[in-house]
Amino acid sequence: MLLNARILPYVLILPVTLFLCLFFIYPFVLVSQQAFGSSEGGWSLDNFREVVDYWKFPISLKNTLLLAAAVVPIQLALALLMATMVSKMEKGRDMVLYIWTIPLGISDLAAGIIWLAIFEQSGFLNSMLNGMGVIDKPVNFLTYQNPWIVFVAIALAEIWRATAIMLVILVAGIGLIPKEYYEAADVFGASKWKQFTRITFPMLRPSLQTALVLRVILAFEIFAVVAALGGTLFPVLMGETYAYQFDLLNSGAAAAMALIILAISIGFTLIILRILRVPKGASI
């Protein structure tokens, strides 16, 4: 049977669409119902009021945003630097990429535990400092007295774990920029730095959008690394959502938290898309 060429694409994406409707849109509607429902039935904002008024909410919101603000720019800078370096390599490029992307293969909880093994009282950092004679007895770094060390440990673990996802996207993006643009830039007097700011960066905007949106959304969903390294010392939005659902058995509040995280993610996605938009007519 010959399918009409105009209909065929829609027929082919139908299974995926059905799958998404069944396992994404439908649960999303259920979660929304829970979030906007109330014990008396009908619609209400009670759940949102409850979670926002709770004393831990501002702290977890602040922590989540701070962490994203610290981690994502560093990851972006590192990923850009690494991608530029890898793109300049002629031999062994794939090998280096494989090694750099190893952390991607590790679950976030495992990554948190690896860094816990470094920072905990009997961990590698203590043994090293002890061995070098900097400290004479093991120090417990990850306590409420050292909130900044907890923060730095979490940030380090996140940077180590999730920079590669941006790297992979940016390497692909840089590979798409024709070499001739750099030759033209060379001839017309652009320094290497200018070539980066005037050619690589603007022409990389589509890849940067993808990489940043992905990374920022994941940053707002940070959970396991924080749980492993900070426990209850460093509340974040996702951790609070988990606590509502499984510790306090308040699924309405958990659903409201989930929607708040979603709203923040959508907000930042729109901001990123706006900042890195390609002007109308400028095809890249």
């Binding site: 030759e183 060379d186 001839v187 017309f188 007519g281 400028a282 890249i284």
Partner: protein, 347 residues
């Protein structure tokens, strides 16, 4: 003054020798075309002059200054690329002004210069557009304008018209020639298109397998090819060749006919003549017509003389049928001779 001197430049990529010991001087304000088939080294030579490629050995001088160790931006050159390399994320204005911005020229000077060259290239109305909205020909104009805006000593062009369609190419060819002559810059232009080379160049350097076989004016390259390669590369159809054997001092026998030729003691030479330099006559080379192609302006006849293929261009009124025997007399001052061993021209 921007005379370019290329001294003993050689380039190898691993075991592959792309350029062998190139020596070439290009006069100030001269339009030099590097002509050759792909892989002959013409683009490599241009890129060495631009500084995008480093020569394995040799020196490049521009305006009495050795520049082969300088970065491209310090060489006083501008370049037009084959694929234009017009930045897609910048407007036409910013593309043309790119080099000027890099030199940190004041805004009003950038504007003034961009508008001037945009006028020269007839693209003033496109300044606010992005290159994605332009046609190939318009993009080409932007690329040329960007080079002209630099007011360089030397403009380098790497097959700048090869991506345009035939009609546009002809139009741009004439326009480019005029604009460049006016700008008074020295120009080096790489192409594989002999018509482009003939029509634009002050001088053509014909390149073959990493060597410059001949560097001379278009008419000299056409009339007096220095080597058999040039004779068979230039001209459409190319020169005809027939074997010649000695027939006394300064006399050579070609297909049963005796011609005056060079006075050498070689055991054999090659007789060469351009297709348009033959005319039917009572005495001459006896040829059998094989294919007759009326081309409007003239008649192209592919014939056979002994075992060799031989092409002649005749007046379009001539009546020739395939299989017919023609007697063709070469115009004696247009006959050339080549040594079959060295392939070089023999006077």
């Amino acid at each position: 003054m921007a005379e370019i001197q290329i001294k003993n430049v050689a380039k190898s990529f691993g075991a592959y020798q792309a350029l062998n010991n190139i020596n070439l001087t290009i006069a100030d304000q001269e339009f030099m075309v590097l002509l050759g088939a792909s892989g002959c080294g013409k683009s490599t030579l241009l890129r060495i002059i631009a500084g995008l490629e480093t020569a394995t050995s040799g020196e490049v001088w521009i305006g009495g200054k050795r520049i082969d160790h300088l970065s491209p931006k310090d060489r006083g050159i501008a370049m037009v690329f084959q694929n234009y390399a017009v930045f897609p994320h910048l407007t036409v204005f910013e593309n043309i002004g790119f080099g000027l911005r890099m030199q940190k020229l004041p805004n009003d000077e950038v504007t003034q210069r961009v508008e001037r060259v945009a006028g020269l290239m007839h693209i003033e109305m496109l300044l606010k557009r992005y290159s994605g909205e332009l046609s190939g020909g318009q993009r080409q104009r932007v690329a040329v304008a960007r080079a002209l805006a630099m007011e360089p000593d030397v403009i380098l062009m790497d097959e700048p018209l090869s991506n345009l369609d035939a009609l546009l190419r002809m139009e741009m060819r004439a326009e480019l020639k005029g604009v460049l002559a006016e700008s008074k810059t020295t120009a080096i232009y790489v192409t594989h298109d002999q018509v482009e080379a003939m029509s634009m160049a002050d001088r053509i350097s014909v390149m073959h397998e990493g060597n410059i076989v001949q560097a001379a004016s278009p008419i000299e390259v056409y009339r007096d090819p220095a080597a058999k390669f040039v004779a068979s590369f230039i001209g459409n159809p190319p020169m005809n060749f027939l074997p010649a054997t000695p027939a006394g001092a300064g006399k050579w026998q070609v297909s049963g006919q005796t011609f005056d030729g060079p006075n050498t003691d070689k055991a054999g030479l090659q007789f060469a003549i351009r297709p348009e330099d033959m005319a039917p006559a009572e005495h001459g080379l006896v040829a059998t017509a094989k294919i007759v192609e009326p081309l409007g302006a003239h008649l192209l006849v592919t014939c056979q003389i002994d075992e060799a293929q031989f092409r002649v261009i005749l007046d379009s009124d001539t009546v020739v049928k395939p299989g017919q025997t023609l007697t063709l007399a070469p115009q004696s001052d247009r006959v050339r001779w080549f040594d079959p061993e060295t392939t070089l021209a023999v006077a």
